[in-house]
């Protein structure tokens, strides 16, 4: 298996994009978008995470097994967040008899 060596240009481009996105998220946060402020903040954070993981952590050159492990980790994180929040968010939606 030959190791893949990325060019300095690739890394520099990714680095500059990360700096740009940091500035973007800071500026966008000052504009009132209502509920979409949170959505925008998380969307930009996810894009930054993908840039770091795919390029800096070489995930795009990794073996299938590594990708499955990372995917599995994200799946369990999603279970943790989605199922727990679905409980807290829906509390009080239906009346409880005798309460």
């Amino acid at each position: 298996m030959k190791e893949h060596v990325d060019s300095i240009q690739t890394y520099t481009l990714v680095f500059l994009s990360l700096l740009f996105l940091t500035a973007a998220t800071t500026v966008v946060a000052t504009i009132d978008l209502g509920a979409f402020n949170v959505v925008m903040a998380l969307f930009i954070a996810v894009v930054k995470m993908l840039l770091v993981a795919l390029f800096f952590m070489h995930l795009r050159h990794s073996t299938i097994l590594t990708k499955v492990v990372v995917g599995g980790g994200m799946l369990w994180l999603a279970i943790l967040l989605v199922l727990s929040l679905s409980d807290f968010v829906t509390r009080g939606w239906l009346p409880v008899p005798g309460k």
Binding site: M1, E3, V5, D6, I8, Y11, T12, F15, L18, L19, T22, A23, T25, T26, A29, T30, I31, D32, L33, N37, V38, A41, L42, I44, A45, K48, M49, V52, A53, F55, F56, M57, H58, S62, T63, L65, T66, V69, V70, G72, G73, M74, W76, L77, L80, L81, S84, L85, F88, V89
Partner: protein, 219 residues
């Protein structure tokens, strides 16, 4: 590849250096997945309480210094950039560049921790540390306000602890690199150390908007 290519760094249970490296990388990723779950619990706690006490959390969040937060994010991204260049230097066998980029990474990590210490000190001076002297202006809900700062200190504190561990790893890599232990055929510790460093960066990528930015538009 032929079976068991002899190199001094190859452990006997592996067939080839490539297989050995794959296993090391995979092991690091599995560790990082446990870290994702570990931080995930804190992010979940933050999400639940932020939803419950949106107003106070917004007020408390807006007392944080967004300029310092953004600059520190940039510092950490710079350190990730120098780290990835260190790994690249190891890949192409440039010992001098590896040493220089590792030193830069350590210095940038130190700057991040220094700024963080300055911020925490400010919290003490502003009475924003949960405890008997806690007081946040502009709200009667002092309890939930303390909850925000408890989460703030836990999350940034745990992140900083990871940074301190990372700094230790970098010093070890620097020492080994100085001794000339790494070559294009064996640089796995640099690669795996890089994965850890970038992971810690990713945690901050989420902490910054969630702690500093989310209520900025109500300012």
């Amino acid at each position: 590849m032929d079976s068991h290519t002899e190199t001094p760094e190859l452990q006997e249970q592996f067939e080839t250096p490539a297989q050995q490296k794959e296993i090391s990388t995979l092991g690091m990723w599995i560790f990082l997945v446990t870290e994702i779950m570990f931080f995930g619990g804190l992010f979940l706690a933050y999400a639940i309480y932020r939803r419950e006490f949106a107003g106070v959390f917004g007020l408390a969040s807006n007392t944080l210094d967004v300029v310092i937060g953004a600059v520190n994010t940039a510092v950490l991204l710079c350190s990730s950039y120098t780290m990835v260049l260190a790994v690249r230097a190891a890949q192409i066998g440039s010992r001098k560049a590896l040493i220089v980029f590792l030193i830069l990474t350590i210095l940038l990590g130190g700057v991040f921790l220094g700024v963080k210490a300055y911020e925490w000190n400010q919290k003490f001076e502003e009475h924003h540390v949960p405890g008997p002297t806690f007081h946040l202006e502009g709200t009667t809900q002092q309890g939930p306000a303390q909850l925000f700062f408890s989460l703030y200190f836990t999350m940034t504190g745990l992140h900083a602890l990871h940074m301190v561990v990372g700094e230790g790893l970098m010093l070890f890599l620097l020492w080994s690199a100085y001794k000339g232990k790494y070559s294009p055929t064996y640089y796995t510790p640099v690669d795996v150390g890089g994965l850890y460093w970038h992971f810690v960066d990713i945690v901050w990528i989420f902490l910054f908007p969630l702690l500093y930015l989310i209520a900025r538009h109500q300012h």
